[in-house]
């Protein structure tokens, strides 16, 4: 049958339906049949049966298409959700340094937590630093003392050399 042909009467339509059920129609003919059944005002047992069968088929196809669309939509939602999660987690992570260790203020003494507030822990740390300060002073003093001792020793040597020089001059 010609691709562009139209079904002009009910008998021709019923003939085409018979060919359809016999499996002798081409793809173009099936398409034409489907379009005609959707539009035509004719009605008979054969036409209604064909309409029902092809309508069911169409509905089935629509269902499949709908399922495919749903699946596609689900995929899009999944991608959008993934991007949202990455942005929601990634941007604050980058701007607020989330991956850095979480803020902690905690002090354990003799196996027990003795302070877990910022103020209390900072107070203990101040004691730590004070101990270090005292040690640093002690070390500075020790170094100063060493340098002083070196200075004294140098002066003694200079004095001795000077005395020795004077003695030599007197002998001469």
């Amino acid at each position: 049958m010609n691709k562009n042909r139209h079904i002009s009467n009910q008998a021709e339509l019923e003939q085409l339906i018979e060919r359809y059920f016999d499996g002798k129609t081409t793809v173009q003919e099936e398409q034409m049949l489907r379009e005609t059944l959707a539009d035509c005002p004719w009605s008979s047992e054969v036409i209604d049966e064909a309409r029902f069968t092809m309508g069911f088929f169409a509905a089935h196809c629509q269902e499949k298409a709908r399922t495919a669309r749903k699946s596609h939509r689900r995929q899009l939602i999944g991608i959008a959700a993934s991007i949202t999660i990455i942005l929601a987690v990634g941007i604050p992570a980058l701007t607020h340094n989330w991956f850095a260790p979480q803020p902690q203020y905690i002090a354990y003494v003799n196996g027990k937590v003795v302070a877990n507030s910022q103020k209390a822990v900072m107070s203990l740390i101040a004691q730590d630093l004070n101990t270090m300060d005292m040690a640093t002073h002690e070390m500075d003093n020790a170094i100063a003392s060493d340098i002083n001792d070196m200075g004294d020793a140098t002066r003694m040597m200079t004095d001795e050399l000077s005395s020795l020089g004077e003695a030599i001059e007197l002998d001469e």
Binding site: I86, V89, F99, P101, Y108, N110, G111, M122, T131, E138
Partner: protein, 149 residues
């Protein structure tokens, strides 16, 4: 599900460099063992409180057990050997005082180690070894000022 697994795997991997040890021998001491030790004290400060003093991490230990003191001293000596700047005093062949400036972290943060063995103090000796690890923007001068506050 597969995609979510990949996302979480990537995120988990991204955190690894932060959590990884920074290559210091003393890091092994900060594994939590002293938190439950009845002869030790451990202070940890990170976050805003540390930021106030231009640091990211302040971690200190104080121990009274001889074997633990020796362990700390040996690890400090190892890290001190690679320090870029140091002030050290030995007494009776043992480390009494050490202030080490270490190489910067990959993030460009300065790192410092303070060590003090008060058993060797001339004035009021005490059975205590203190180790302080500091990491942050603070310069050595700022650290010294912090100590002398």
């Amino acid at each position: 599900m597969k995609r979510i697994t990949i996302i979480f795997t990537v995120m988990a991997l991204a955190t690894l460099p932060v959590l990884a040890q920074s290559g210091l021998n003393i890091n092994s001491l900060f594994d939590g063992r002293y938190k439950t030790n009845p002869y030790a004290a451990e202070y940890i400060v990170t976050g805003p409180a540390a930021w106030e003093i231009d640091l990211e991490v302040y971690h200190s230990l104080k121990v009274t057990q001889k074997e633990q003191q020796d362990l700390i001293e040996s690890l400090v000596n190892k890290d001190g050997a690679t320090a870029i700047d140091k002030e050290v005093q030995l007494r009776n062949g043992k480390l009494y005082y050490g202030f080490y400036t270490l190489s910067k972290t990959k993030k460009g943060r300065n790192r410092y180690i303070f060590f003090l063995n008060q058993n060797l103090a001339k004035k009021s000796p005490k059975n205590m070894v203190t180790l302080i690890y500091m990491e942050g923007k603070a310069t050595p001068t700022q650290i010294k000022k912090l100590i002398r506050k």
